[in-house]
């Protein structure tokens, strides 16, 4: 290690850059961008106004076999300082008695409309039915396994005072952050990429994805783009469509919802694999026009957004194995030491970004997470990149997103016939 330290000390800036080109290209700009955007761009304040009580607000909850969770979610909605005017709950072909639970909630008067289908139609179809049944001017989509901060709904509604805003993303934080090492890392990840990342993007007007866990839509905007489309990743899809249609999409950092993340590695890999496959399919197949300068809907803002994803997510994941191979080939076992050295730098940067994320994220409890920050770069820089790389490869080569278990087979078949 001392050897490596001495070696690095002996390097010039140019040779260091040659040695750590991966870090210099894929890591430092990422951190720098986050930092610079959040620190130096002014925050886009929402127009200050009451809590949008004059608008009718509907909450739509769709779940598949989530009978044990749905009541907690509904009760959390009733606890809101700005209670939704209407709560619509759908059981999408549940097999666990969720339909019964939903019926019971309806009889208790806790929800205004209860619907259940016998066959599973998929999340997108469920959300579309929910939106059709709901009567509100603003529709808030909520996942069954989410719970909320008391002011989440009130805070997410503020942004709709701007008539250009078509949708607002809520801030999703991790509820089970200390359940395992992986969940702690994910908690840090959500803080940095979702909370801090979206705040940064919000400053550019480029909020990338309204999480299906908690997002609000203006009905006119929702109907204009025809609601959710079939296939997975429907939340990202809807956001991209909305921005294509010219609607502004915002991020409400103070509208906090909590969710459980996967605790076991296999579940995490499955979940992320699905997300990344859907992202590739949606960004480069379905919404490829966003990057085409000759497309009538092309905009530089969108292009920057797509580039950000391309460089920091896709290319970084692809380049990582080459970098490691190159390092080992050039320096032999000494390469390991160099990597470790690079890791030290990343840990320092991680800590800085973590602190920044904590400082700009309301309602987060950072202390339990601090011990895990040093390991975060291993998780995010190494482990997640491998997961991504595998997902990208599956999607590019096998179009694996078609076999996504989240989308019913009948829908996949219908989609396959189209393309």
């Amino acid at each position: 290690m001392i050897e490596a330290y001495d070696y690095i000390r002996a390097q010039t800036f140019d040779s260091l850059l040659a040695l750590f080109w991966f870090v210099a290209v894929f890591e430092i700009p990422r951190y720098f961008l986050l930092f610079a955007l959040t620190a130096f761009l002014p925050m886009r304040r929402h127009i200050s106004q009451p809590d949008g009580r004059e608008r009718m607000v509907s909450a739509v909850v769709v779940g598949h076999s989530e009978g044990t969770k749905v009541e907690k979610c509904v009760r959390a909605l009733h606890e809101q300082s700005r209670r939704p005017d209407e709560i619509v709950v759908l059981s999408d072909g549940s097999t666990d008695g969720m339909a019964k639970r939903v019926g019971a909630l309806s009889r208790q008067g806790l929800i205004d409309a209860a619907h259940a289908t016998e066959l599973r139609s998929g999340k997108a179809a469920g959300l579309n039915l929910g939106a059709r049944i709901a009567k509100g001017e603003i529709i808030i989509f909520v996942d069954c396994d989410c719970t909320f901060d008391r002011h989440a709904v009130r805070n997410i509604l503020y942004h709709f005072a701007d008539p250009d805003v078509g949708a607002v993303a809520g801030s999703v934080l991790v509820r089970n952050e200390t359940a395992s090492l992986l969940s702690a890392f994910q908690a840090i990840e959500y803080l940095i990429t979702i909370s801090l990342g979206k705040q940064a993007m919000d400053r550019l007007g480029l909020v990338s994805c309204i999480s299906g866990a908690f997002g609000a839509y203006r009905r006119t905007a929702y109907e204009q783009i025809g609601g959710y489309d079939a296939e997975g990743g429907e939340d990202l899809d809807l956001t991209l469509s909305m921005r294509s249609a010219g609607w502004s999409v915002r991020f409400a950092d103070d509208a906090v919802c909590y969710t459980d993340v996967p605790v076991k590695r296999a579940a995490l890999v499955r979940q992320r694999g699905r997300w990344e496959r859907d992202a590739i399919r949606l960004r480069y197949r379905k919404h490829g026009h966003l990057m085409n300068p000759f497309s009538p809907r092309f905009s530089w803002r969108e292009w920057i957004h797509e580039m950000e994803f391309l460089v920091f997510n896709v290319l970084a994941a692809i380049a990582l194995p080459f970098y490691v191979a190159w390092l080992l080939a050039m320096y032999g076992s000494f390469g390991i030491s160099i990597l470790a050295g690079a890791q030290l730098v990343l840990i320092c940067m991680d800590m800085a970004v973590f602190l920044m994320a904590v400082s700009v994220t309301p309602l987060v409890r950072p202390l339990p997470l601090v011990p895990y920050v040093p390991g975060f770069s291993l998780y995010y820089g190494l482990f997640m990149r491998w997961v991504r790389l595998a997902a990208y490869a599956q999607e590019w080569i096998f179009r694996a997103s078609r076999n996504d278990e989240f989308v019913p087979r009948k829908v996949q078949r219908a989609r396959a016939e189209v393309s």
Binding site: S106, H115, E118, N128, A230, K410, A414, R415
Partner: protein
């Protein structure tokens, strides 16, 4: 006798027309003891003379008099004096059926009392106010022929049009004939109505009546006779306390016994409670009575049905309906959800229907291929009134009587029970109120048969004059219930009668043997207690030998001192 309470301030002048001295003595004794003025005559002519000579409030007349009938007495009096100042005419007869079958009798007499005379009843009758003329049935009203006319039964026709007003206890009546099913609760309220078979001429009472006589054929007339006979037998087994009881629970209990030991519930749309039992007693009151009887251990109940009732008016005539959870309208229709796979549109079918085609409301594609383009993932309910949709309509009950609407979860229920008598209940019905209290098996004057009262009076008078002792033995049969259960009521009664006859034969002529309801009695005039005990014990073992069934008779002896106390 202490049965003439309240008589001191309402004294009547009574004319008793009776040729039998036993009856005459007794009625005279009882009525004058109660403070009434009693004039007794033996013939019809003497009665008329007395009636023309002075004013009487009540005329108790035997139907068969040495010179002419009691009816003739009434007729002659009325032709002379008219309806004004008319006393209450009460016929005393051993042949109620024959008397009641003659329409003229029915018009002229106010009451008909059967022989042997019930002293309590006579006292009650005498106290009854005389009805003003207008309240009586108009003479000459034609009575329509009834289906039971040819059966030779003494029938109380309901509603009461013409004829004598019912005497409390309905003595001498064999059955109640329902000609119109109205005011049945008033009928049930008449003392004694609970012990008579109900013949339904309207055909609408169902099992609440005992026999449906709306279509009477030869087989049915036999059935009527059998039912009347059966009721008669069972009625004879009841303790007088219970036969006469005014307590609603007692009356129901007696009715259960008399119909054959079960009170069975059934569905009935004619009552607000939607259930009825095999009695004309108001079904609304029965559950409370059964609860009381069951608590006392007299009946055993079995579950029949759980009924929902209106929380505001308690009626069970509820309309059950599925309704919209939003606006409570029941105008609901079922509709499929349709799921268009390709664009994730999921909506009610009506959003897709365009003529014969299904067109996606979002992407305007025509849906052609079920299972490939689209499917129907479920059914929803749509409200035609407010357009709301739901997966599960709520259920509510609307009262058809008071229109109160109640959600299904909030509708109160109550359990309808059938009931049958327990052994305790049966024993209570045979032994009277004494059975339940601490006074069980002690001597009660109310239980004494008439002939015993007369004999006891005589013996008591002799004891008072010349210190001539007497002994009264009460006989209770502990084995009677067992025999009844094993061989039936008839056999039990026969055995008891036989035993008593055997006892009587082995004893001297000076002994008075009297048959009571729960107990029988032997009065030995002129015998000391110890002397009597020897005599009775000897006779008893002789009687036990004669009768095959083991009656397990227990005898208790009382001297003059015991009775005076």
């Amino acid at each position: 006798m202490d049965t003439t309470s309240g008589a001191t301030f309402d004294l009547k002048r009574v004319l008793l027309v009776e040729d039998s001295s036993v009856t005459k003595d007794l009625v005279e004794l009882v009525l004058s003891h109660a403070g009434h003025t009693v004039t007794s005559v033996e013939t019809g002519q003497a009665a008329l003379d007395a009636l023309f000579a002075e004013h009487f409030d009540v005329v108790l007349t035997d139907f068969h008099l040495p010179d002419f009938t009691g009816l003739e007495v009434v007729r002659r009096f009325l032709s002379e004096r008219g309806e004004r100042e008319r006393p209450l005419f009460v016929a005393i007869t051993g042949d109620t059926r024959g008397l009641l079958s003659d329409a003229e009798n029915c018009e002229l007499f106010d009451r008909v009392v059967p022989k042997p005379l019930d002293v309590d009843l006579v006292c009650d009758l005498v106290l009854e106010p005389v009805l003003p003329v207008s309240k009586r049935a108009r003479p000459g009203t034609k009575r329509s022929a009834s289906t039971t006319d040819g059966l030779g039964l003494a029938v109380l026709e309901w509603p009461i049009g013409i004829g004598p007003a019912p005497v409390p206890g309905l003595p001498g009546i064999d059955a109640i004939l329902i000609r119109e099913a109205r005011d049945l609760q008033i009928l049930w309220g008449i003392n004694g109505a609970n012990l008579l078979p109900v013949l339904d001429e309207t055909g609408t009472l169902g099992a609440s009546a005992d026999v449906d006589v709306s279509t009477l054929s030869i087989t049915r007339t036999d059935e009527v006779r059998k039912v009347v006979e059966r009721f008669h037998e069972r009625r004879a087994d009841l303790h007088p306390d219970l036969a006469r009881s005014e307590d609603p629970a007692d009356r129901l209990l007696a009715r259960i016994e008399i119909t054959g030991a079960t009170l069975s519930a059934r569905m009935s749309h004619r009552h607000d409670g939607l259930v009825a039992w095999n009695t004309i007693c108001d079904p609304g009151g029965i559950p409370a009575l059964l609860t009381k009887l069951e608590k006392e251990g007299l009946v055993r109940t079995t579950f029949f049905e759980r009924i929902h009732v209106c929380p505001s008016c308690r009626s069970a005539c509820l309309i059950v309906r599925e309704e919209c959870p939003t606006c409570a309208s029941s105008q609901l229709t079922d509709e499929s959800y349709l799921h268009h796979f390709r664009c994730a549109t999921q909506a009610p079918e009506s959003a897709f229907v365009q003529g014969d085609d299904l067109v996606c409301p979002k992407c305007r594609r025509t849906l052609r291929h079920f299972g490939r383009d689209y499917d129907r993932p479920g059914i929803m309910t749509r409200c035609e009134s407010c357009e709301a949709t739901t997966v599960e309509p709520q259920v509510a009950f609307v009262c058809s009587r008071c229109t109160t609407r109640t959600p299904a979860e909030a509708v109160p229920t109550h359990d309808v029970m059938s009931a049958s008598l327990t052994d305790t209940g049966r024993a209570y019905l045979r032994s009277g109120t004494a059975f339940l209290g601490p006074a069980r098996r002690t001597l009660r004057f109310g239980d004494f048969p008439l002939e015993l009262v007369i004999a006891l009076n005589r013996a008591a008078a002799e004891y008072n004059e010349s210190r001539q002792p007497f002994t009264l033995a009460s006989i209770h049969y502990d084995g009677l219930d067992a025999i009844r259960q094993q061989h039936g009521a008839l056999r039990a009664r026969d055995s008891r009668r036989l035993w008593l006859e055997a006892l009587q034969q082995t004893m001297s002529d000076r002994v008075v043997v009297a048959r009571g309801t729960a107990s029988d009695f032997v009065l030995l005039a002129g015998s000391q207690l110890e002397e009597a005990r020897g005599q009775i014990d000897a006779a008893r073992s002789e009687a036990d030998r004669t009768v095959r069934d083991d009656l397990q008779a227990t005898l208790r002896l009382f001297g003059p001192e015991d009775i005076a106390r």
